[in-house]
């Protein structure tokens, strides 16, 4: 029996165990779920050790005696080991020194994310929303109007505050228009977006079911 056939048989059994949830929560479904979680965690640890820790921390130290290393590489290696050892101190919850590598990770990560979001998403997307109208092409014109209107309505939907006039009793006419006319349009756009996302999730689940049935068909055909 080949390895592929064993893998297919195990996959078929796990598929049946997962599909048994249609009868309700049962031990077979739970065993399959726990097995998946355990295998995924173990696999992640093995990959991190084999693909990150050994080549980035252990292998350079072992190679120090065999080849000459430049000062920059040695400095980077020492700094990496220092942060790794400091992070190990987090095993003790009351230790404050272990926060140093965490602070470094959080600070650098936030700075990189903000800078990338501004230059890679915020500015380009804002500029893309204000693209020029093409009166000659009705389709492009409709698309431009829908995009602009949808963006404005969606942003005004989150205008929760209602401003009162100086007399205190009357609502600001602008706020009245926002809350009564534009906000519902934005809610429609938000609802459509969530609906498309849910449909995408259902499509992914349907693809998974189709893949499992294809494997079963292939296994039974052999």
């Amino acid at each position: 029996m080949s390895t592929d056939l064993i893998g297919a048989a195990v996959g078929l059994a796990l598929t049946v165990m997962i599909l048994s949830y249609v009868l309700g929560d049962n031990p077979l479904f739970r065993i399959a779920m726990y097995l998946f979680v355990g295998v995924a965690a173990g696999y992640a640890v093995v990959v991190a050790v084999q693909n990150v820790l050994i080549p980035q921390l252990v292998a350079p130290v072992l190679a120090l005696g065999s080849q000459t290393a430049d000062v920059g590489a040695l400095t980077l290696l020492g700094f990496s080991w220092l942060l790794a050892l400091l992070f190990l101190l987090k095993l003790h919850p009351a230790n404050q020194i272990g926060r140093i590598p965490l602070a470094l990770l959080a600070g650098v990560g936030a700075a990189v994310a903000i800078g990338g979001a501004v230059t890679g998403t915020l500015l380009p997307q804002t500029a893309a929303t204000a693209f020029p109208l093409q009166l000659s092409n009705l389709g492009a014109l409709a698309t431009s109007l829908i995009v602009a209107g949808g963006v404005i309505a969606t942003l005004l939907t989150f205008h929760y505050g209602v401003r009162f006039s100086a007399r205190g009793a009357e609502v600001d006419p602008v706020a009245r228009v926002v809350t009564t006319a534009i906000a519902p349009v934005g809610q429609v756009f938000i609802g459509l977006t969530f609906g498309v996302m849910v449909a995408g999730l259902i499509a992914g689940a349907a693809a998974a079911l189709a893949e499992r049935l294809s494997v079963v068909r292939s296994l039974l055909g052999q």
Partner: protein, 668 residues
């Protein structure tokens, strides 16, 4: 409250009980004539109230209200012993008929209830000695103190002597004294009481004979304190008929005691003598405590010689083991019961707008309460609806596999513009004049999404391999590195089966493995990929970057194209954002899941955007395969996937229609 001993078990019982609370025998059937009768008018009257009766001077007081032994004394005084004589022994009968002043009052209650006393066997010799009984009082005179002897010699002097009495009484009592002379009080007293008082000078203190009865304005507590000596004796006798009556004066004086009786010499513990006044003298009140007493009491002497009257509490317990008893403490006084303040402390002042806001909040609260469905436990029922939906889905998925002729040509027949742009961007890499550089494929999804995204990644890999370009894979999650390995292996195998060409690792395929760090890792990889990956996924590190597939790669811009296969919008967005600063001239193609595609589409739709093409979901992968002429798993599975999605849409539509009809029926 008087106590009656049961004639059967000799245990004390309240006087208002008919049956013994210990043996359930009648307390009245064997009661002798000396048993104190219950108070007729007020059963709750205390002994102090009973003591006031003989000193009130009311001669019309019926004898039935008097204690038994007092009545017996009165009868004896009237020389009518016919009722008590048959029950008395001979020796006591002889004593009772004589008018010996020193003889004991001989309460018949004591004699009747005490079997030993009635039997006469334990009668001491000295008590039975007729000579001792006939002895005049004067023979006991030396045993008395001087002041008592003086009083005993002439009883009238104790009333008429103003000097000692004035010195011993407070002012308010001295004022009341002259208005009520002792003679008047003596005349107001019944004869039996006068006889009782005369032969018992030791029990009567000089201050006790104050003419209290004649003073009309005196307080009640003072009236009850007046006959202290007799009151003490009467109280003791009334409270406990079995208790021996107090002995006369000589008995309290050790020097005048007769010889010890025989029983006293034989027994180790002689019977206790009755406690006299000298033994229970009341302590004096401190000045500060006396000042705190009520006004009408503050004038009372602090000597403590006169006990205060008992409180007249008519409360009767109705529940518990104390039911029927009076004078008990209340278990739950009304003053400690919790109450609610009736006064309004303050009122809130609110504006009109605040009132409106409060009304809106109240309306929301009421709506919340109205919408809250009661938590009811639904009975067990089979999930038939769930089974029906699952069966329909499985049927829709299996029919295209086992009966593909029912659906004709596999869909989709039309290739989308986004998919066509992606295919064109990859196809342009193989044109003449284009530098032949490796293509970086980012695998950014977990194995759980492999069913949807692996066909997309594989079609890209096959397309690139068909162009003769190396494929370099990078995973941004620990699980995605293994998925990347599987994608490359399957793609190379498929292409080898189609073309017969053998694709070699490190020449056409390289899996670098897991790239940690998220966005920071992406930036570092874009700047210097050789420093990030010292070895590939399989651990091969020797001259990795000198391999044919990676030769000449120093940064991200050295790759011919960037294909991002992502199952989440965040992963693809990180690559787009963090690689924008490089300004690389290579195309960027996104292959996203059906769920993440709509959120990544703006990067493609924007004019001059960074993305050159996009493939969303398994449907677009099938379109790509059809467009590139690389039919594979996406086309095979799309029929089943499409059938499931179609059935899901039908089920959702039917469910909404049924729900709408049900809602309309409920509204009607």
């Amino acid at each position: 409250m008087a106590v009656v001993r049961c004639p059967h078990c000799q245990k004390p019982n309240p006087d208002f009980l008919e049956l013994c609370q210990y043996c359930d025998q009648s307390l009245r059937e064997d009661a002798g004539p000396a048993e104190p009768p219950p108070a007729a008018a007020n059963p709750a009257a205390s002994s102090w109230d009973a003591l006031e009766t003989p000193t009130s001077g009311d001669e019309a007081q019926p004898e039935g209200d008097l204690p038994g032994w007092v009545s017996a004394l009165a009868e004896d005084d009237a020389a009518a012993p016919s009722e008590g004589a048959p029950t008395l022994p001979d020796w006591f009968s002889s004593l009772s008929t004589e008018d010996a002043p020193v003889a004991s009052p001989a309460p018949k209650a004591f004699e009747a209830d005490d079997p030993d006393a009635t039997s006469g066997q334990s009668t001491p010799d000295w008590f039975a000695d007729p000579e001792a009984a006939d002895a005049p009082v004067d023979e006991l005179q030396p045993a008395l103190p001087d002041w008592l002897s003086a009083l005993r010699t002439d009883p009238t002097t104790e009333y008429d002597a103003p000097e000692p009495a004035a010195s011993a009484l407070p002012e308010w009592l001295q004022e009341a004294g002259p208005e009520a002379p002792a003679e008047a009080a003596a005349e107001a007293q019944p004869a039996w009481l006068q006889d009782l008082a005369e032969p018992d000078p030791a029990e009567v203190a000089p201050t006790e004979v104050a003419p209290t009865e004649a003073a009309t304005p005196e307080p009640a507590w003072l009236a009850s304190l007046a006959p202290l000596g007799a009151a003490a004796a009467l109280s003791d006798a009334d409270d406990d008929p079995v208790k021996p009556p107090p002995q006369p004066g000589p008995a309290d004086d050790g020097e005048a005691l007769p010889p010890a009786p025989a029983w006293a010499l034989e027994d180790e513990e002689p019977p206790r003598a009755p406690i006299g006044e000298d033994d229970l003298s009341q302590a004096e009140l401190p000045a500060w405590l006396a000042a705190m007493r009520p006004t009408e009491i503050q004038g009372a002497p602090h000597s403590g010689e006169q006990p205060e009257p008992a409180e007249g509490d008519s409360y009767e317990e109705v529940v518990g083991v104390l039911a029927g008893m009076r004078g008990v403490l209340r278990a739950e006084p009304s003053v400690v019961l919790p109450g609610k303040a009736a006064n309004q402390i303050h009122t809130l002042t609110a504006t009109e707008s605040q009132n409106k806001a409060a009304q809106v909040l109240a309306a929301l609260a009421r709506a919340e309460v109205g919408q809250a469905a009661p938590a009811t436990r639904r009975p067990f029922s089979l999930p038939l609806l769930r089974w029906l939906v699952a069966a329909l889905m499985l049927l829709a998925a299996m029919v295209p596999f086992w009966a593909p002729e029912l659906f004709g040509e596999p869909a989709p027949l039309v290739v989308g513009s986004e998919t066509a742009l992606a295919a064109q961007a990859i196809e342009d890499l193989g044109r003449d004049g284009t530098p032949r550089r490796p293509v970086l494929m980012v695998i950014d999804y977990e194995p759980g999404q492999a069913a949807e995204l692996s066909p997309v990644a594989e079609v890209f890999a096959r397309h690139i391999l068909r162009l003769g370009l190396p494929v370099v894979a990078v995973g941004t999650a620990p699980g995605s590195a293994g998925v990347a390995e599987q994608v490359l292996t399957r793609s190379a195998q498929d292409m080898s089966n189609v073309s017969g060409f053998d694709y070699e690792p490190y020449t056409h395929l390289v899996n670098l493995g897991y790239l940690p760090g998220g966005g920071v890792g992406v930036v570092e990889f874009a700047v210097d990929p050789r420093r990030v990956f010292l070895s590939d996924f399989s651990g091969h590190g020797d001259a990795l970057w000198d391999q044919p597939a990676l030769a000449g790669v120093e940064s991200l811009s050295d790759f011919g194209a960037l294909v991002i296969v992502s199952g989440s919008p965040e992963g693809a967005r990180a690559w787009i954002e963090q690689t924008a600063f490089i300004n690389a001239d290579h195309p960027i193609v996104i292959a996203a899941s059906a769920g993440a595609g709509p959120l990544l589409r703006p990067y493609l739709a924007s004019q001059g955007g960074p993305v050159d093409g996009m493939v969303t979901g398994l449907r677009a992968a099938a379109q790509y395969e059809r467009h590139a002429g690389l039919v594979g798993d996406a086309t095979e599975r799309w029929s089943a996937t499409g059938g499931i999605l179609l059935m899901a849409a039908i089920v959702i539509l039917i469910g909404n229609v049924l729900a709408g009809l049900s809602r309309l029926r409920l509204r009607r």
